[in-house]
Symmetry: C2
Subunit: 196 residues, 2 copies
Amino acid sequence: MLTAKGAATRGRIVDAAAAEIRERGIASVTLDDIGRRSGTGKSQLFHYFPDGKEQLLLAVAEREADRVIEDQEPQLGQLTSWEAWQEWRDVVVEKYRRQGVNCPLGVLITEIGRATPAAQAVTGKLLAQWQRRIRAGIEDMKAAGEIRADVDPDRAAAALIAAIQGGVSILMSSGSSKHLEYALDLCLDYLRVSSS
Amino acid sequence: MLTAKGAATRGRIVDAAAAEIRERGIASVTLDDIGRRSGTGKSQLFHYFPDGKEQLLLAVAEREADRVIEDQEPQLGQLTSWEAWQEWRDVVVEKYRRQGVNCPLGVLITEIGRATPAAQAVTGKLLAQWQRRIRAGIEDMKAAGEIRADVDPDRAAAALIAAIQGGVSILMSSGSSKHLEYALDLCLDYLRVSSS
């Protein structure tokens, strides 16, 4: 367990590493850069990340995964009306459109190794968290009678996650947000239609 | 332009390379292996692929992309009843479930370089072909009065492509076909519901 001060220092290192990687690309960032930006020395870096760069990159990936959820707040946590769903949809599209072909999390996952258990744990946790929040929104709308009783919130939330994932990966290779938008719109139309 | 005989030889080389890569992994396949399997010599290999390995890999990627469509036939080309749509859905799920984490096209695209224009041309063409076929199915069902007139075939087809893409990439990192299935089911439910 880290002390509060230790956790703050560790967090400062991770934030500095995330910022350096976002600004300059993963290949050109050194531990010296991260130390300078976070105001920590090499001994501290190795104290918090004794296994070295690999371990630090994983912590940065976890931080970037948290940020994917944060970027959708407060909308993602308040899916209690159709207006709120539409707003969230726009936030997601705007986030990924702005991001374009450069996905900070994707860069880290590729570096760590897409097929490694560590990378898969990070993406698996992110998708599960995201899906849980969407499911909660569907459940709220069902409780309010806005979505038909026979819609399965878990299945519908999983479908939405797949739609976003696919839309974003097409956006990253084509540069166009159309697939993402149409996929989100179809899912929301499905949920809305099912209320009539 | 290749003569008919030349095209056949080139095709044999590409098929041999595709088979070797599928069986043994891209890293361990040599031009000698491909020559042996296709019954061609090195001079022929360089005649048809003067730019070398890169050019051959691209041709193999195009072959694998064609196969993605072929694997869904005849169902994908005959989406003229709800039974046909359901059958196609099952073929897609079964194909990717069997394939699991090993995507022959994905391996090649990664090797060529996901962000290169050549790789993006291959995936872009595949997605466009696939989407056109799905759109044709939606148009047929609209013409038959099975799908509501206000459903936009192009948008709905794009949404389905995004849903499959996302479902497959989650399958490849999680090993589970659930996201793919739920996403396909939601899209088909949407198309069906809109007919009532």
